[in-house]
Amino acid sequence: MLDHLPALIAFLKVDQCYVYGNRLHFSWFGIDPASLAGRHIRDVIGEDAYQVLKPGYEKALSGQDSIFMGEVPFANGGKRFIHGTAVPLFSDSNVVEGILLLTTDLTEQKLIEKALDATTLRSQTVLDTAVDGIVTIDDKGIIQSCNTSLQKQFGYSANELIGQSVNILMPSPHRENHDRYLQRYLNTGEKRIIGIGREVTGKRKDGSEFPMELSVGEFMENGRYFFTGFARDITDRKRAEHEARTRLNELAHVTRQSAMGDLASGIAHEINQPLTAIVTMAQAMLRSLRSDKLDSAMVESTLEKIARQGVRSSTIINQMREFISKGNIEESAPHNIDVIISNVLQLLEHEIDSNKIRVNARLHSGRIIINVNRIQIEQVVMNLVQNAIDAMADVPRERILTINTSEPQQDIPYVEVSIEDNGSGLPDEHERIFEPFFSTKINGMGQGLSICRSIIESHGGTLSAFPNYANGTVFSFTLPTEPAENRK
């Protein structure tokens, strides 16, 4: 019977020599159990193992039970992790006659345990070193576990979190509603965040909030749902995005400012002309008055002229003020594109004249009304015309600027505007001209066309460029003619 037990069993006399050993001795040590009797245990298990176990044997021989658990370097069989019991055997006269050894091999179990430990440890390490915060909750929203990153992100310790509802990590109104969200999911199976991931706001222990990207996975254990949330703090990314946007806005402003600068010198000239006229006429009148050569007819006609010049300067100033006022203040309103183009051409009249450019304005849009932010569209037209003027600066042939607007047609829901020059033409990297910071001009910031395109696109239109028939470039943009609310 003892032979079939899955344990090594031995009876030793007080001299630690075998009386009996069971069959397992053969598989452990390769020794026939029949030949064990009378052999010292040291010879059977090997010197190394004996040194480890000897104190146990001696303890048993002294009359006390002894238990050993640990790794033992056995002869022949190699190292084994064992649980060994040494029990003294007493004679009738209560004298120790020998010891009973019962040894179980736990090596395999131990290996499994070790392996398990390692896996757990590794997983925990992975979880804790993950940049993302990780939290697991049950189907009631109660936090089961969380990693180090999550604790850092939210400023709680694991102890403060585990056992609490996960809603303490959320700001209102999610804090109050989270239980309902969970319940709804469990009832309907409708996934709003699980497996999708979205940007949400987290709330730290100190009450501060931060943007995070949350993705949620689910798993089932013992028939219950559990959810694991992965939270990534995107404060930095948000800040970078915000900065980039601010920078672009600033640049748009700067571009506008520099365009304004160019324009301002033109306008300064424009205003200076009527002022010069006024000053000079007044000087002439004074001189005539002092030399008594002033007659009332002359006074009348001169004063009329002076008044006209005054009105002219104030008109120029008003036009300028309208142009300078920021584009985004004005909302979209019904306008006619031909009128907008004419206004811009008027503003740039001096520039066009002094560059000796012939303008062919074929404005055919009739009374079509488009819903646009006038200032922005003016800026686009001004920018494109200015580009055309610049492109023709070094052209020896006659410089011609052609502006077309399309005739209204029944089934075409947009108006098309083309601005053509016969200048130096497009660079090789054709499409790049619309990229921010791409410029072919020495002092160009590369903002103009990229801003133009975003303005046109924000109006639901398109802006493109292609080479003109013989020389130069055509810029063409469209603007929808239907009211904004009918679009989409």
């Binding site: 010198s265 010069t276 006229a277 006024i278 000079t280 001189r287 005539s288 002219r312 002094s354």
Partner: protein, 204 residues
């Protein structure tokens, strides 16, 4: 002479043009005003003394281009530039190319402008008078024979007839004859007069 002088105004702005015309007329000038350089060139009389008041920046033919064109003439008219914006490089260019002066619009001190216009007209009249003198003198010189020219040069250098005769390989008597003819043709009566005459020609 001043009464015949004319002030030409070229400015693309009708208001400015009107104002300047009134101003110069109030100072007693005869004024012609034009909106472009091309129109001015159609009416410009090179023969009469004048002063040009030009806008630097004009559509079409610019003030500087007009100046360049007029500079090729034998008697370039004096030019005073007006400019609406402090365009320093263009102003420097204009002055280097011989402009009389340069004013910024509006001209705050119109008396200064009027003074400069008067000065310009005075200089133009002088230049024209000199030119006439030079033309007369040229005609006189052309009447001299090559030999008489040689003699004149040497007389002006202060050489004695005898020396001139040796240099030119002719007799002193012949030198005296050439000299008498030359003085008569030029209408001078003494060596001092002759030298003055020649020097003033050189200065022209």
């Amino acid at each position: 002479m001043k009464q015949q002088a004319r002030v030409y105004i070229v400015d693309d702005d009708s208001g400015v043009r009107d104002g300047l015309q009134m101003l110069f007329e109030s100072a007693g000038h005869t004024v012609s005003a034009f909106s472009t350089a091309e129109k001015f060139l159609q009416c410009y009389e090179p023969g009469a003394p004048c002063c040009l008041v030009l806008d630097l920046r004009m559509p079409g033919f610019s003030g500087l281009q007009l100046q360049e064109l007029l500079a090729r003439q034998e008697l370039p008219p004096p030019i005073i530039f007006l400019t609406g914006h402090g365009n320093v490089p263009a102003a420097v260019k204009a002055l280097k190319a011989g402009a009389m002066d340069f004013f910024q619009k509006p001209v705050i001190n119109e008396q200064q402008l009027l003074d400069r216009v008067n000065e310009a007209i005075r200089q133009d009249c002088e230049a024209r008078a000199e030119a006439i003198k030079r033309e007369d003198f040229k005609q006189l010189l052309e009447q001299l024979t090559p030999r008489e020219m040689e003699v004149m040069e040497r007389v002006c250098e202060g050489e004695a007839n005898k020396v001139i005769g040796i240099e030119l390989g002719i007799s002193e008597r012949t030198v005296e004859l050439h000299r008498a003819h030359m003085m008569k043709k030029l209408g001078v009566h003494s060596v001092a007069e002759l030298i003055h005459f020649r020097d003033s020609f050189r200065d022209l």
